[in-house]
């Protein structure tokens, strides 16, 4: 019996020592999940770096109540892997909240996991409306907009430019199907005509058969609802078949990786994305300069600022209510006009931020240029087929 007391006292003593040895600030873990490998990894790495930047800046601030640590995990843009890492994160009691997902198909699979485990998350890049609107999970929030608005603006814009017929190519994940659904609806309502719709698998390599059919249908525009790697293949095979139509993408191809993969063939590709370009955002300049200072090696990409904003929202909530999942979730739900790099964030009852502004992009000389500032808008250059 006596021996047990000795063990107990020793144990308590050791615990005491360990407690003293640690930093005087409590460490709080925040998860980041995104595609760190695979075709869309450029966006994932940009997002991770941006979230990491938020954490580093907070840790450098002496008035911070806690020391933050980012746990970055790779969902490979695959729903099955996404659910695995989401479960890992959600089951880890030390992780208080998460900045999660670029790929919509992955986010659709993981929201149930976050709800089950009660982990508050802020989506930083996935645009499918159903992620926030398809459920009433209080855990799920999103700082970026949905694909509904961008497709409405896209339809308006393209019709204004005088295009009349479209062939739609979309990947058959929830993401691609969503783009197809919303764009088709808007463009038909507004008087455009869709001559053919082609669902392709997201990892498909050969599009020659589909594109030959598209060539036969001879549309003004090829609308592509999918992510950058598939887009690169489609655009380059389009060229090889001599198809002279405008290539219109979505926010899924707004990434430097898309331009790198295509080289000169990227010229004149159109895309639409919610939110203003980073450098035009209220805190954009300082975000970019601080990002440069950290020497990350990869650019922040199109959604970096959103990941930065999501991480900051979580940090602010933790600073206010402490590292407790439930309290952080309630704090996030109550977000109204919270100042952030992407502008004031307000979550509606579904945890969705309202991002009204949609930016129109065109690739000019190997860069994503805002349409209004491009030589295409001023009439100096012409899009193919016009």
């Amino acid at each position: 019996m006596k021996r047990h007391y000795v063990t107990l006292i020793t144990l308590l003593f050791m615990l005491g020592v360990a407690g003293c040895a640690s930093d005087d600030k409590e460490t709080v873990k925040v998860a980041f999940i995104g595609p760190l490998t695979g075709g869309v990894s450029a966006n994932g790495l940009g997002g991770r770096n941006s979230a990491e930047l938020a954490i580093r800046l907070q840790n450098a601030d002496s008035s911070s109540k806690y020391k933050y640590e980012l746990v970055a995990l790779d969902d490979e843009c695959k729903p099955n892997i996404g659910v695995q890492v989401a479960t890992k994160v959600a089951a880890d009691k030390h992780i208080v909240a998460g900045v999660t997902h670029y790929c919509s198909a992955v986010a659709m699979g993981t929201v149930d996991v976050y709800h089950k485990f009660g982990l508050p998350v802020v989506v930083w890049g996935a645009v499918l409306p159903d992620i926030t609107y398809g459920n009433d999970y209080a855990e799920v929030h999103r700082v970026n907009g949905t694909m509904i608005n961008q497709n409405e603006v896209a339809a308006d814009f393209m019709l204004q430019q005088g295009y009349k017929t479209w062939a739609v190519v979309h990947d058959t994940t929830d993401y691609g199907k969503g783009h197809n659904r919303y764009f088709s609806k808007f463009v038909i309502d507004k008087g455009g005509r869709i001559v053919g719709t082609f669902g392709v698998s997201a990892d498909q390599q050969d599009f020659n058969a589909e594109l030959t059919k598209v060539k036969e249908l001879d549309p003004d525009v090829i609308y592509f609802g999918g992510l950058a790697p598939t887009g690169v293949r489609l655009r380059s095979q389009m060229e090889k078949l001599g198809i002279n139509a405008v290539f219109q993408g979505t926010s899924g191809i707004v990434s430097d990786a898309f331009i790198d993969g295509l080289g000169p063939l990227a010229e004149g590709v159109l895309a639409f994305r919610e939110g203003a370009p980073v450098e035009k955002l209220p805190g954009g300049e300082s975000f970019l300069s601080q990002y440069q200072q950290q020497d990350f090696g990869e650019p922040p990409e199109a959604y970096g600022a959103f990941a930065f904003a999501a991480a900051n929202l979580i940090i602010d909530a933790i600073e206010k209510v402490g590292p407790d999942r439930k309290l952080v979730m309630q704090e996030l739900n109550a977000t109204r006009d919270h100042d952030s790099v992407v502008g004031p964030v307000t979550f509606d009852e579904h945890g969705q931020n309202t991002v009204a502004l949609i930016t129109r992009y065109v690739i000019q000389d190997g860069k994503w240029v805002v349409w209004e500032e491009s030589e295409y808008a001023s009439g100096k250059r012409k899009l193919p087929g016009s």
Binding site: T172, F198, S201, Q205, D206, A209, P229, V232, Q237, L241
Partner: protein
């Protein structure tokens, strides 16, 4: 439908068919000679493409990236490396298991393929991302009505068909070919006749893997992109093509390859959702196998007793 479009579909299908046939010929060679199914074959295709890609990076560093020279050089480098890999694989993994149940060979090659795939993913710089493959063939094309006849497609078809015919001639006309055929018919008797059994097996695996490397480089040049997982589907398609044509028969493999490409193209043209084209093609293969279990051109049954 316009004649130009029909020709375009045909041309697309033929390029695919050549690639599939090159992979299928490997499966059929290995099965014919040693009665083994080598499931790492698809990954050898991928490794061949990556070897070529790495060689190109080396050439560029040396300032020797002239397109035509580089295209020939990297193709040969890929072929040589994979021929060696195939022979080593036969010597150290397949021959030692010759007397073990066939299931073991099947498993060990499956595992080897997995290891090869994951090594490229982990150790090739940035290997988990799709890699742009250099466009080394001249960018010439001829518009004949609605047909876009590209010089590179035509060249790839000629080279691919040439390689398959070359392998066929080698087997039918040369001394080593005679030895391969002898071993395929009856290994014991062939040995009694003084044929070096091991050397014939190594040569066969080298030959099949070289063809796989050519398929990989062709694939890279055609799509301007390679990725570590490309061998997976190519392997399955090549195997299906070989089986449906009749494992062990060279003509069967070629017919199987072109048949699969034709089915895929028809599937893509017929269905409003082209993502179903693989489902359609594989379903047809299943139906064909139910109808002719030994393949369209079965190997002569005398070999199998």
């Amino acid at each position: 439908m316009d004649l130009g479009f029909i020709a375009q579909y045909l041309l697309n299908g033929i390029v695919l068919g050549v690639i599939y046939a090159m992979v299928a010929v490997g499966f059929t060679l290995f099965f014919g000679v040693l009665d083994v199914i080598k499931f790492s074959h698809g990954d050898v295709v991928m490794a061949g493409a990556f070897t070529a890609l790495a060689t190109y990076a080396g050439l560029e560093l040396l300032g020797l990236g002239y397109p035509t020279f580089a295209a020939v050089f990297i193709t040969l480098a890929g072929i040589a490396a994979m021929a060696l890999l195939g022979a080593l694989l036969a010597k150290f993994l397949i021959l030692p298991l010759r007397n073990a149940p066939p299931l073991n060979t099947l498993l060990i090659t499956l595992m080897f393929g997995l290891a090869l795939r994951e090594s490229v993913r982990l150790f090739y710089p940035n290997g988990s991302n799709p890699k742009p493959f250099p466009q080394l063939l001249p960018d010439l094309s001829l518009s004949l009505g609605n047909l876009e006849l590209r010089f590179d497609s035509v060249l790839l078809i000629i080279v691919g068909l040439g390689a398959i015919i070359g392998v066929h001639m080698l087997i039918e006309r040369s001394r080593i070919g005679l030895a391969i055929r002898a071993v395929a018919q009856d290994p014991e008797t062939a040995r009694l006749m003084g044929i070096n059994f091991e050397r014939v097996v190594l040569a066969t695996f080298g030959l099949g893997s070289a063809l796989a490397a050519l398929a990989g480089v062709t694939n890279g040049l055609y799509y301007s992109e390679v990725n570590f997982g490309m061998g997976l589907l190519l392997g399955v398609i090549g195997f299906s093509a070989a089986v449906v044509g009749g494992l062990g028969s060279l003509y069967g493999a070629i017919i199987g390859g072109f048949l699969f490409a034709a089915l895929q193209t028809i599937g893509a043209v017929w269905f409003s959702v082209p993502a179903y084209k693989d489902v359609f093609a594989f379903a047809c293969i299943i139906a064909l196998m139910a109808w002719k279990p030994t393949g369209l051109l079965a190997a002569k049954s005398a070999e199998r007793v």
